[in-house]
């Protein structure tokens, strides 16, 4: 391949990278996008958000058909054709990544497949997937090289029975007993899938609750449901060793409820993700990378090197596609001469578990820690007609308001479709809405979206769907 030049080089074709590349191209820049995977879309599209959502949909269908047996409709035990399920999932992914390739082409973004490393502040060398190398000379660059799953040193990584989220999504088999190490979003989503596909699930989490850091009241409906459904959930528990044997993987635990050892057919390691800052030759470009592999950036996504920007997982938490996409737009716009800043007031997080858990803005834990005085409106879904007609009653919607300004500062939702409902709260936070603005906006009835307005009414004291004693 001939050496290339670019006005803007984007390293990494995940959601942040392709968004940055497309935005820069739309603003008139000549863009080269370098990505090591065969298809654009990064972890999110290929081995993350999208395939996991396809499998979670399958899990949900199984769960709902089971639940309906109590309400008069009984299905037979589902026959699971793993190959077909996998093919469907891969089809979804292919359709999306193919769409991206088309979008790149329409914008005349040059895509190079291979592993890129900086060799100077204006050059990137790419080990091409097709073999050989090429060099890309660039005026400005956007680093969007993402993150990869953390591994645990004491776990035999070479054993095919030890998998990370990518391995779990490959769906090569349904194990009899699956140990999920890490009770965060990724671990619990994959547990949801494998549980419905028939595996017996054990979840082990080092800290004192599932999805650590999130308000306990939001996690508790999920914890209650999966504690009943799964074999074991061990919190405050450490995995101290894994012994691979022909019968299975024998795991030693250190925790209040956990046995000393237990044997599993597979282990899913989901203990977090580590940024790829140290893997891209950043030092050759003069870009500062910290000990953990993060690259510090300004609110304009600029690194310490004036013409090199960085976005997404590699610049810090939260490692979320939607954060990366917005950062990518900021970087592209700044390069094109616009005075853009990443100034989001809320970045939503969603666990696509059953029930879903979603939150945005300030959590109660954070507000308490920061000494913010806040008011709160909570609406339990047991009083939501729509939730009950879905056969579910455990959810809740909680909205936090600043005590001085009265404006919404945070929201947490647990229940089916919480991830879709949280978007209204993000808009309200960005627009500086107060409880009355939300409560007086007419929400369609009967929907789950009503619960946001009803939580605001509960805070205001105007709610009639609940009886709350006067404050």
């Amino acid at each position: 391949m001939e050496n290339q030049t670019a006005e803007v080089l984007v390293l990494g074709g995940g959601p942040g990278g392709y968004t940055a590349a497309f935005r820069a191209a739309d603003l008139g820049q000549r863009v080269v996008l370098v990505d090591r995977e065969p298809a654009l879309g990064g972890v999110c599209l290929n081995v993350g958000c999208i395939p996991s959502k396809a499998l979670l949909h399958a899990a949900k269908v199984i769960a709902e058909t089971k639940e309906m047996s109590e309400n008069g409709i009984t299905f037979g035990t589902p026959a699971i054709d793993l190959d077909k399920l996998r093919a469907w999932k891969e089809g979804v992914v292919r359709r999306l990544t193919g769409g991206l390739a088309g979008l790149a082409k329409q914008r005349k973004v040059t895509t190079i497949r291979g592993y890129g490393r900086f060799t100077s502040p204006h050059q990137l060398q790419v080990e091409l997937a097709e073999g050989g190398t090429t060099t890309v000379g660039f005026e400005q660059a956007i680093i969007a090289a993402g993150s990869e799953a953390l591994t645990l040193p004491f776990i035999p990584a070479a054993d095919p029975r030890v998998i990370d989220s990518t391995g779990a999504l490959e769906l090569s088999e349904i194990p009899g007993r699956l140990l999920v190490i890490g009770g965060g979003i990724i671990g619990l989503e994959m547990a949801t899938v494998y549980h419905e596909l028939g595996a017996k699930i054990t979840v082990v989490e080092l800290l004192d609750q599932l999805i650590p850091g999130t308000d306990k009241d939001l996690i508790s409906p999920l914890a209650k449901r999966i504690t009943r459904a799964y074999e074991n959930i061990y919190v405050k528990t450490k995995v101290t060793g894994v012994q691979a044997g022909p019968e299975g993987l024998t795991v030693s635990f250190d925790g209040p409820q956990a046995p000393a050892t237990d044997t599993f057919d597979r282990i899913l390691v989901a203990v977090g993700r580590s940024p790829n800052g140290k893997l891209i030759g950043a030092e050759q470009a003069g870009v500062a990378v910290d000990d953990r592999g993060f690259i510090a950036v300004s609110k304009q996504m600029r690194t310490n090197v004036e013409h090199i920007f960085a976005i997404g997982d590699i610049v810090g938490q939260p490692m979320l596609a939607h954060k990366a996409m917005h950062e990518g737009k900021v970087a592209a716009e700044v390069i094109a001469g616009k005075n853009s800043f990443f100034d989001a007031r809320a970045i939503p997080s969603v666990a696509y578990t059953d029930p879903e858990v979603a939150w945005a803005g300030v959590t109660e834990n954070e507000a308490r820690a920061a000494g913010v005085t806040y008011g709160k409106g909570v609406f339990p879904w047991a009083a939501s007609g729509r939730s009950l007609t879905l056969g579910r009653s455990e959810g809740l919607t909680k909205v936090l308001f600043d005590a001085d300004s009265g404006r919404i500062i945070g929201c947490g939702i647990t229940g089916p479709n919480a991830g879709d409902l949280i978007a209204e709260a993000v808009l309200a936070i960005e627009m500086g809405a107060d409880a009355a603005d939300i409560a007086l906006s007419i929400h369609p009835h009967p929907t789950l979206s009503e619960t946001v307005a009803l939580a605001a009414e509960a805070f205001e004291g105007t709610i009639t769907d609940l009886y709350l004693p006067r404050k």
């Binding site: 502040p121 050059q123 000379g137 005026e139 609110k299 310490n304 090197v305 853009s340 500086g432």
Partner: protein, 443 residues
Amino acid sequence: MAAATEVSVPDLGDFAEVPVIEIHVAAGDVVSAEDPLVTLESDKASMDIPSPAAGTVRELRVKVGDLVSRGSAILLLDTGGADVEPPPLTDQQEPPSQDAADPVAAAREPAARSASAAAVPAPADGPPVTAVEAGSPDGFEGAHAGPGVRRLARELGLDLSALSGTGPKGRITKEDVIAGVRGPAAPPAGAGAGVAAGGGIPEVPAQDFSKFGPVEVRPLTRIQRLSGPALHRSWLNVPHVTHDDEADITGLDAYRTELDAAAKTEGYRVTLLAFLMKASVSALREFPKFNSSLTPEKDALIYKSYYHLGIAVDTPEGLVVPVIRDVDRKGITELSRELGAVSARAREGKLDLADLQGACFTISSLGGIGGTGFTPIVNAPEVAILGVVRSKMTPVWDGSAFVPRLMLPVSLSYDHRVIDGALAARFARYLCHLLGDVRRLVL
């Protein structure tokens, strides 16, 4: 891309308005990349500005003595098609490629630099990430405005934190932003931050103390009303440092006691202050910088060949600083008599304006009251002030035993623009050395 490239002062650290002290090239000279073009001198060091590329000097834009800052044009360089590497940002940067045919090099046209510079409206200060967008309105934290309005404000360079909204509940609307840009009251981008950080010092908010208990308002005395602003001015204008030392005045005090006993019969007193004045004059002679003042332009020092000392005197009306003139030409007896007289007039409020003018250096003695040390405020435009507190009998190790010595703590505050720490330490040591043996004072 042939044609001339303007070479400007790169970001070499925190400096501005530094003089060009040497120019190494002339128009027509052929230079290679990294050849020194000019030398600048900052307060810390001199530094060469290297050529960013090979080429021919077409035109010089500076001359020796010019003051330059980051971005100032140095010269026009005819690169004749060779690529121009931007000024080095890091050590790791490759030396510039000379191969014009190299496709990689073509990507490094100087135009890329100007494009990237245009992307940053605020002066970019290079590596420290926090400094890059300093002065730009960023999150408009607390401003009641949605994301679309925040973006518009940024595009138009308007600081939303300085704007009040006309929308429902005070929300800032797009119309408010447009009106804010058009209106006469529109502050330039970043103006809010500039005011807070620079010129205006925030007032201490008024408080109604009577809410907390009975109070009474008494006007400041005339002296307090005059000295207050002067002290405030000195405090704000002079970068102060205070250096502490101590003098062994055992011998000096014995001598002073003898003189004082004799003086009492003649109706005056001999205090330590007279000795401090003589020692100070000797030290000022030894270290003339302490007897200087900065010019108003702050680019030169004015050295004084006279020795008038200000003496801080506590009066019922407040602090006054009468001046004893020509201390170098007066002996201990004469100084003691004059001190007695001027202090008496100060306490009676009978000092003339002339009594208060012309000091080179000031002494503030709190020895009559006590204390172990303090940080006197330099009486600008003087550049130093000596503070002394009460001397104290202290066990001092003489090499074989602890011996009781009368030690006098001294605190020397100075203007760090004029005097550096080492010089202050030497001055203080010299002064203490003189006080340590009264015979040295007559040398």
